[in-house]
Symmetry: C2
Amino acid sequence: MKFEILKDNLKNGLNIVERATGKNLTLPILNNVLIETKENFINLVCTDLEIAIVSKNLAKIEKEGKIVAPTKLLLNFISLLPNKKITVFLKNKNLFIECENFKSQIQTYNPEDFPIIPQIKTTEFIEIENKIFCEGASQVVEVTSPSQIKPELSGVYFSFFDNSLKMVGTDSFRLAEKKIELENKISQEFSFILPSKTTRELISILGDKNGKIKIFSSPNLALFDFESKEISSFVQITSKIIEGEYPNYQEIIPKKWKTKIILKREDFLNHIKTASLFSGRINEIKLSVQPKENRVSIFAKTPEIGESQSSLFGKIEGEKLETSFNYKFLVDGLLNIKSSEVIFELSNGEEPGVLKPVGDLNYIYVLMPIKSY
Amino acid sequence: MKFEILKDNLKNGLNIVERATGKNLTLPILNNVLIETKENFINLVCTDLEIAIVSKNLAKIEKEGKIVAPTKLLLNFISLLPNKKITVFLKNKNLFIECENFKSQIQTYNPEDFPIIPQIKTTEFIEIENKIFCEGASQVVEVTSPSQIKPELSGVYFSFFDNSLKMVGTDSFRLAEKKIELENKISQEFSFILPSKTTRELISILGDKNGKIKIFSSPNLALFDFESKEISSFVQITSKIIEGEYPNYQEIIPKKWKTKIILKREDFLNHIKTASLFSGRINEIKLSVQPKENRVSIFAKTPEIGESQSSLFGKIEGEKLETSFNYKFLVDGLLNIKSSEVIFELSNGEEPGVLKPVGDLNYIYVLMPIKSY
């Protein structure tokens, strides 16, 4: 194997695939990157067996080949080199890297020991504007359950139907749903549950990139394929999907409300954070809504610490009402919403509340109140 | 007690003193701030018994008094308030804080339980431009010993003599000395060893502030007094000093060299970092100096990983030479130097090397080589 590549291109590719490299002690081969030359590209591949990331980068291939080398060492070394042409070649099972006055040789491993990356069979895909897709995913992924007790809640539910994609996350205390309109009506509806980890990686790797993302799905895999036109590189993220059926979450979204508040999002967040300092073990803060005065008061009290009370003003419809929430759930919801004003729909003490951005019908965040006894 | 103060002034003061608040489980009173009104100022005081930080802030005092309240709760609460006037008063042992639509009450503790902050007796002091003082201290403090085996090496040595201040740090593997010229000749020489923790706090709190710092010293205390003219506030940091005699460090500073290299600092750092990836358990990297070619080559090798070799060019005087260093010590030294070029004076394998900035005679960094067997 021998190829030439610009330092920054190799660094960018390694930076992307490195995210699937863990510190795997039982299977040390997973701490490595598979480097493979194919036509005018070098493919970099890392996997943790749950997710596989491939980065295809344009290079001048002088001799084809395939090797496995430690990801982090390679990335750290390449990062420190000047941004010039790098020559990489294999000799006596050592990877030689040369760039200006720098020379190194790195021990490699047998590519036969590297796990085989599963390939998706289908050629059908859905194409979505990448930034819209990643932003939507980021609005639901932090609401998924961190525990594995109900595995289906530990991932994001992607449901393609008619001409829309719905993304859903819930941990059974709160739920977020984001709807994205597709350019074309799809022929057959389908859905899958993507592990939260994969979803977060997708957002981190691709979140700021312009272009379209292609989504492929099979009974046990999902593939996200992104081409960066500017630097002639490709990223492919293949992930296992979570088996099981996603709960019929539509049932828990309230259809009515008793009191509807419109508040400035930043202000509301600030008042909640202030009260949170005085909340106790169960993170309880109390909201008291006074429609006549267009006022929302927020209370919190813990005998050993003290208490806090603050008021903010907005537009209020409906009835006077008192209710309590876990402040963390409210904060998470408000952070997922990007609009400057927010709608909060409330019912009686046992029904969930619903947060929505003002001026955007495509996002809702549902959260359970704390029941008072 | 009752006073009015602008939110940002109270927040700034708390932010400064909070640095002396730890998570003290055995003496929970230390997690609190003492608030005391005096003439037109409120004094905020925190201490961990090693160091005491006082922040004096201009306020409108309506009723004098003294209380103790949880530092972090207070700081977090004040930080979230709008930047308006805050009214603070004591009622039934609760501290009431009011600001616009925010009201809170915080449980307080008996100020009699708060430790007494030791007062320095002397009125004599040395005055130094604060930024110069802090920058100098930051160039030596990270070289002090983290262990307490030789307590005198766990602090920075400040030595005032004639018209100069010398600051020294060493962990016995390397040593840094910074000299600052004083405006006036001092009448009587004196010195003290300041704990590294205090030195770091001084740099963090005052490092970016314009003005002069006054230094007071007594047999067991040092006091650093800084007045910020812009916002009419004062910071006083009182610290215990370390008992014991500082070693006669001048002895180990080499007076001669065999080979002298001048290199671009950033380049040298980059080459060392690159080699460091291939260094082994004792962090060894090898330097080979070729005066004829004006070349320095850097090698590192670990059989299980691989090896690296790189060359950089500079001005070289003296003899051809090979020597080895712990790369961490070299990196630390180069990071402490701010000039774009650096002088590295080397002798034979057992003598320490000396790093100096080009164009500044007031800083030296001495480091032991790794002896080859």
